[in-house]
């Protein structure tokens, strides 16, 4: 049987816009006692600083603090949008991306992320504001 998209995409994180990462991590430490909290990392291409918190086994919350150059995320935050994308780890990014593009998704951005050791990441959308980040495993 042909593997489904779901078989080839491992859920990794949900992306959440915050004003200030240092402030935003406090309740996750103090109340939930999450211990696997990464150091903030600047992702140059996206003009953001991000920080991962492991909220379950292998599942992360990505806190995203837009810098001055990222007006869109700052505006979304002002409008009350906080959780805005899902991140998946994938083995064969190129092939999966091709299949998604043929299925009606379009490429939003394609970059190498400091947050994942400069691995390739892409954002895709289906035009219904369904934003998905695919992170290459290799």
């Amino acid at each position: 049987m042909q593997p489904t998209f779901n078989d080839r995409m491992r859920f990794h994180h949900v992306g959440c816009i915050v004003d200030n990462i240092e402030q935003a991590v406090i309740p996750y430490k103090a109340i939930f006692h999450f211990t696997n909290i990464g150091k903030p990392v600047r992702v140059e291409e996206q003009k953001v600083v991000i920080c991962f918190i492991e909220i379950n086994n292998g599942v992360f919350l990505e806190l995203i603090q837009p810098d001055d150059g990222n007006s869109t995320l700052a505006k979304w935050k002002k409008k009350g949008i906080r959780y805005y994308h899902l991140g998946y780890s994938v083995d064969d990014l190129e092939r999966l991306l091709g299949e998604l593009l043929r299925s009606g998704y379009f490429l939003v951005s394609d970059f190498h992320s400091e947050a994942f050791g400069m691995k390739r990441c892409v954002f895709v959308s289906n035009g219904e504001m369904d934003l998905m980040e695919l992170i290459a495993n290799t």
Partner: protein, 82 residues
């Protein structure tokens, strides 16, 4: 609909979506010319254009759009077909 009418509608839509009343689009305008037009804003713009003109772009059309002239041509093509 004529291309200049599409341009005028797009101009109003860009002003609204990007919250910048100083935007003046021409066919040559591209994302590099407007500070607020980043990759995420591009998604918002596509959604807004599709709603406003009651059309649906294909993935390849969206990825071929390099400037406003390309956007106008896609919209014009869609409206002419329908």
């Amino acid at each position: 609909m004529e291309k200049n009418e599409i341009l005028a509608r797009l101009n109003a839509l860009f002003i609204r979506e990007l919250d910048n009343k100083d935007i003046v689009l021409t066919e040559a305008t591209n994302a590099g010319d407007i500070k607020e037009w980043d990759s995420l804003a591009h998604v918002l713009l596509i959604v807004a254009i599709e709603k406003d003109f009651k059309i649906k772009f294909t993935s390849s059309e969206i990825m071929r759009m390099k400037n406003i002239g390309d956007v106008i041509s896609s919209i014009h093509g869609r409206l002419t077909k329908s």
